[in-house]
């Protein structure tokens, strides 16, 4: 089961200025199982969720930085992308790590992440998932979001285009359901989405 999807900023090295910020996050279902009898304040729950997501984002950023460092790739090496070049998503750094129970979620979770230039995408899952499918889905979502939101064009502000992100998620990860979509199927769904969003 997918518990959350998030998009966040990625700094290439720790030395870079700024903080790790969550740009968009979506929870699919509450963390406590509905059978949880403890009364909790709604506001505190929301605050907790936001902080959990930020913790995940920070850890992804840290893993990304370590992986880039280990490959010997520095910020200078990253080619500036023009909006026309297809981003080589198959070569984008990706990885997975496990979150121990209590840190920060109650149950143990797995996080699969993908880093594309200065943006990170991550899925928070249960520990027994089909990671090949998760990886495919994450790359697909990243490709769709980069293409349709034109994230790499300077001035594009994804924060104000939440409807676009929602539209993509509704079709390709509905309620957190990972889908087995072959290429033609994806194209069909994408055409539908473009048509619905063009007017």
């Amino acid at each position: 089961m997918v518990h959350a999807f998030l998009i966040h900023t990625l700094r290439a090295t720790k030395a870079e200025e700024g903080f790790c910020r969550v740009l968009y996050s979506c929870f699919f279902g509450a963390e406590n199982s509905p059978n949880d009898p403890q009364p909790r304040s709604a506001e505190r729950d929301r605050l907790l969720r936001k902080e959990q997501i930020l913790a995940v984002a920070r850890q992804v950023e840290s893993m990304y930085q370590l992986q880039q460092q280990a490959c010997g790739r520095h910020a200078v090496d990253l080619q500036p992308q023009s909006s026309d070049d297809p981003v080589a998503l198959h070569e984008a750094p990706c990885g997975a790590f496990r979150l121990a129970p209590g840190d920060p979620f109650q149950e143990p979770r797995t996080v699969v992440w993908l880093g594309v230039l200065s943006i990170g995408f991550a899925l928070v899952l249960d520990t027994e998932e089909n990671l090949l499918l998760v990886e495919n889905t994450l790359r697909l979502l990243a490709r769709l979001l980069l293409d349709h939101l034109r994230l790499l064009v300077p001035g594009a502000n994804l924060l104000l285009r939440a409807d676009c992100i929602e539209g993509i998620l509704t079709r390709f990860l509905p309620h957190g359901q990972l889908l087995f979509l072959n290429d033609q199927f994806v194209q069909g769904l994408e055409k539908e989405f473009s048509a619905a969003w063009s007017h």
Binding site: P34, R46, N130, T170
Partner: protein, 808 residues
């Protein structure tokens, strides 16, 4: 970089929305929504509202009127999809919140119900989730022909089934199971019809859609699955995709309850019984109850997928999907066999064939893991096959795929599977640790915590020594793997090694046969039992020591060492403790030179050495010769002095008759002389570039240890008294001023004085410095009257006072 700047600019201008301004904004939105203005203004306003609510972790109070309007718009039949999505998103971002009053009764279409469901699921109220689940179920079962509505609701169903399995009534669950089975097996095999595009000049032509195709372009040979493609898809084909996507979760959680599904003991009975074989073989009967119907169809679907995944896909994305489908099919088959063991007979042949296919294909390494897990669970029926899979898995895969982060992660998760700990597989796992460490050496940040959990399983009395050597050599293993990639990767491939570090001459140096032999030894796949020293390799690999990956590995090693020792001290006997202690001494100056590595390792080892001695105190006497050599050969401690301090302390602690009857006065004498010489050397020699300043702990521990030894062999007392007086004088002399700080010198003086005072009363000294075994009892230390420093202090004060408080 640009995006980040744009983001920060964007954030700045939007976050400073005060409460009053927010109130005005909400009022504007309420007005727009109430007026049913679905134009670009509303879109823009809702986008901004989403940003305001989502951007902060603290809840923002929205006007109740505004919230009500959002909820109404969500369920309005006229509101366009885009705006409804935004309304749902805003409400979801607010959740959990007390101000939401959404209910699934308001939704008027399946799509709206889906949106409402996303908000209610985020809200997390168990009662609401239940009600919503029941409502969705009702909608699902009421529709006869499949309309687009069902595709919106199936994912909701799956989510509710995972979160609250008991929320759904059994009758309806069964009915849905039956339909899922139908969707899986009986979807149309014709492509979807194209809508007539109706251009200005073209007459609308009724185009006959052709049959669906396989991923390799040929016409479909059997029923429709997720690996069937076409230009357009029909509704039932979409349901087929969704049904398979949710199949495993449905079978696992909210799915059909087989009477003996959870009863593992019945498994062996059922496997032998002929009755269940017969019933499972009857695939034609539609009289199967829904649970079995779904399982039957799931089995056929997975078998078809296994066949389809062997085809050569025309598109890369489809080839990736094939692998994912392969994994999923095996996982579902595993689940089916667990729930109904009778399936095993039908499933084993395809899995055997699959195993053969996968072992020969390096691109499918990740898909091998679920196959291995399958054999692990259902091993009794397929014992021979299992061994072949594991052999391939543990000996070939890590050597060839250590550099793939996802495979590494999955492989290590597989190793932590509790089923692996049973039976003969455990031995194979344990002896394959050199191969497993390759994953660790390459991706240490991601895998260190996993290996800390895995080490207690891997550590074994037979391989502990070899494993410790390899752990200490882990950074050199990283460098060796990097070098291996440099030499073996084709020039056209994207380099996996560290491109920022050049290694001139390394590859050349590797041509030397002896170096090659050591290199292969380091990169071995299994525990070899021999521990050949790899120190010559360290020099060869030195240029690579500055690789970031090597440095990261070096930083992870101390944590791993601690985990190793925590595990090994649980079961180590005297002989093993002895060998490990010697290993520490030997390796402490034979480490790969990575920045900061030696100091970090010394810090850990110096705390482990006393722990080993505590486990087996006799090792000090047993290894007296080696210890003497260690102390004597240093000629002045290099670097941090951690190891020396710890060894000298251990000598002082355990070289006595109370710990080992074999300890002789002669031995004590020999050690005394060696330590005395060492003390002279460290205090007399001037620090230079080659010989750094001697750490204070070394001096004080030497003094204390010498005193301890003297207290046991009392004819040494005059010598040590002389030595201590000299130390005290030295610490006062101005000559040593610039080398040590005043505090340090003060400490030396104080300690020398305390020890001298103690030695004036030899029997007290013996009691204090050679305590009996009870010293290991906690009470001894909790009782503050018996703690050593206090005793020393008290004795000193007693002696210095002229008052007649001295007893007798």
């Amino acid at each position: 970089m640009l995006l980040l700047l744009a983001f920060q600019h964007g954030m700045g201008s939007r976050l400073e929305v005060g409460a009053e301004e927010l109130g005005r904004f909400c009022a504007r939105i309420s007005a727009l929504l109430e007026a049913e203005d679905w134009g670009p203004d509303t879109l823009d306003a809702l986008r901004r509202l989403f940003l305001i609510v989502a951007a902060t972790k603290y809840s923002r109070r929205l006007d109740p009127a505004c919230v009500a309007q959002l909820q109404t718009a969500l369920c309005s039949p006229r509101c366009p999809e885009r705006l409804q999505l935004l309304c749902a998103a805003v409400l979801r971002e607010m959740a959990p919140s007390d101000s939401l009053s959404l209910s699934c009764d308001h939704a008027q279409s399946a799509r709206q119900l889906g949106l409402v469901a996303s908000v209610l699921l985020a809200q997390g109220d168990p009662q609401q989730v239940r009600t919503m689940g029941q409502r969705v179920m009702k909608v699902l079962e009421s529709r006869q022909p499949e309309g687009p509505s069902l595709t919106h609701l199936l994912p909701v169903m799956s989510k509710v089934a995972s979160l609250a399995p008991d929320a759904l009534p059994e009758e309806q669950t069964k009915a849905l199971s039956k339909r899922l089975g139908d969707w899986l097996r009986y979807a149309s095999v014709q492509q979807g019809a194209a809508h007539a595009s109706g251009g200005f000049f073209s007459a609308p032509r009724a185009r006959q859609p052709g049959p669906v195709t396989e991923v390799d372009g040929t016409v479909a040979t059997d029923f429709f699955t997720v690996l069937s493609t076409g230009q357009r898809f029909t509704e039932d084909q979409r349901l087929n995709v969704q049904a398979f996507s949710m199949l495993r979760a449905w079978l696992l959680q909210g799915g059909p309850a087989y009477p003996s599904a959870t009863d593992a003991d019945d498994r062996s009975e059922l496997e032998g019984s002929t009755v269940s074989v017969l019933s499972a073989a009857s695939t034609t009967s539609h009289l199967l109850p829904p649970a079995e119907w779904l399982r039957e169809k799931a089995l056929e679907y997975c078998q078809r997928l296994l066949e389809q995944s062997g085809r050569r896909a025309l598109r890369k994305a489809d080839s990736d999907l094939q692998k994912a489908c392969l994994v999923e099919a095996v996982l579902v088959l595993d689940l089916l066999c667990r729930q109904d063991p009778a399936f095993l007979y039908r499933v084993l042949p395809c899995l055997r064939a699959l195993r053969t296919r996968l072992c020969g294909d390096p691109a499918c390494a990740r898909a091998l893991l679920p196959v291995a897990r399958f054999f692990l669970r259902h091993g009794e029926a397929a014992a021979v096959d299992a061994d072949a899979v594991y052999q391939h898995l543990f000996t070939r895969i890590p050597s060839e795929h250590f550099h793939s982060p996802m495979l590494a992660f999955e492989f290590v998760q597989f190793c932590r599977d509790p089923l692996l700990l049973l039976g003969s597989n455990l031995d194979l796992l344990k002896t394959s640790f050199p191969n497993l460490f390759k994953f660790l050496a390459w991706s240490s940040p991601a895998l260190t915590s996993e290996f800390v959990a895995l080490l207690p399983v891997l550590v074994d009395a037979g391989t502990a020594v070899e494993m410790l050597h390899l752990l200490l050599d882990l950074p050199s293993l990283t460098a060796a793997l990097d070098l291996q990639l440099r030499s073996s990767q084709a020039a056209s491939e994207r380099p996996l090694w560290d491109v920022s570090v050049r290694a001139p001459g390394c590859l050349e140096a590797l041509r030397d046969p002896q170096a090659q032999g050591l290199f292969q030894q380091l990169l071995r796949a299994k525990a070899s039992g021999t521990t050949e020293r790899l120190t010559p390799l360290h020099q060869l690999l030195q240029p690579l020591a500055s690789c970031a990956r090597v440095v990261q590995c070096a930083q992870a090693v101390p944590t791993l060492l601690r985990a190793f020792f925590a595990a090994v001290t649980q079961f180590a006997d005297g002989a093993l403790a002895s060998r490990l202690a010697l290993l520490l001494l030997e390796r402490s100056d034979a480490l790969f030179q990575v920045e900061g590595y030696e100091a970090d390792v010394h810090r850990v080892l110096s705390s482990q050495f006393p722990a080993l001695c505590k486990l087996h105190p006799q090792l000090v006497v047993e290894q007296a010769k080696e210890l003497l050599e260690f102390v004597g050969s240093l000629g002045g401690p290099s670097g941090t002095g951690y190891m020396l301090t710890s060894v000298v302390w251990a000598i002082g602690e355990y070289l006595s008759v109370s710990w080992d009857r074999r300890c002789t006065a002669e031995q004590i004498s020999r050690f005394f002389e060696a330590l005395e010489a060492l003390l002279f050397e460290v205090t007399q020699s001037r620090p230079s570039a080659a010989l750094p300043k001697c750490p204070l702990q070394v001096i004080t521990v030497l003094m204390t240890t010498l005193t301890k030894l003297a207290s046991r062999s009392q004819d040494l007392i005059p010598r040590v008294s002389l030595l201590l007086s000299k130390m005290r004088t030295l610490a006062q002399s101005p000559a040593v001023g610039p080398v040590h700080s005043e505090d340090d010198l003060g400490a030396v003086r104080t300690r020398a004085t305390e020890l001298l005072n103690l030695l004036k009363m030899p029997s007290v000294a013996q009691f204090v410095l050679t305590p009996s075994v009870e010293v290991s009892q906690p009470r001894y230390h909790r009782d503050s009257n018996t703690a050593l420093p206090l005793a020393l202090d008290m004795v000193s004060r007693l002696l210095e006072r002229e008052a007649s408080l001295l007893p007798g």
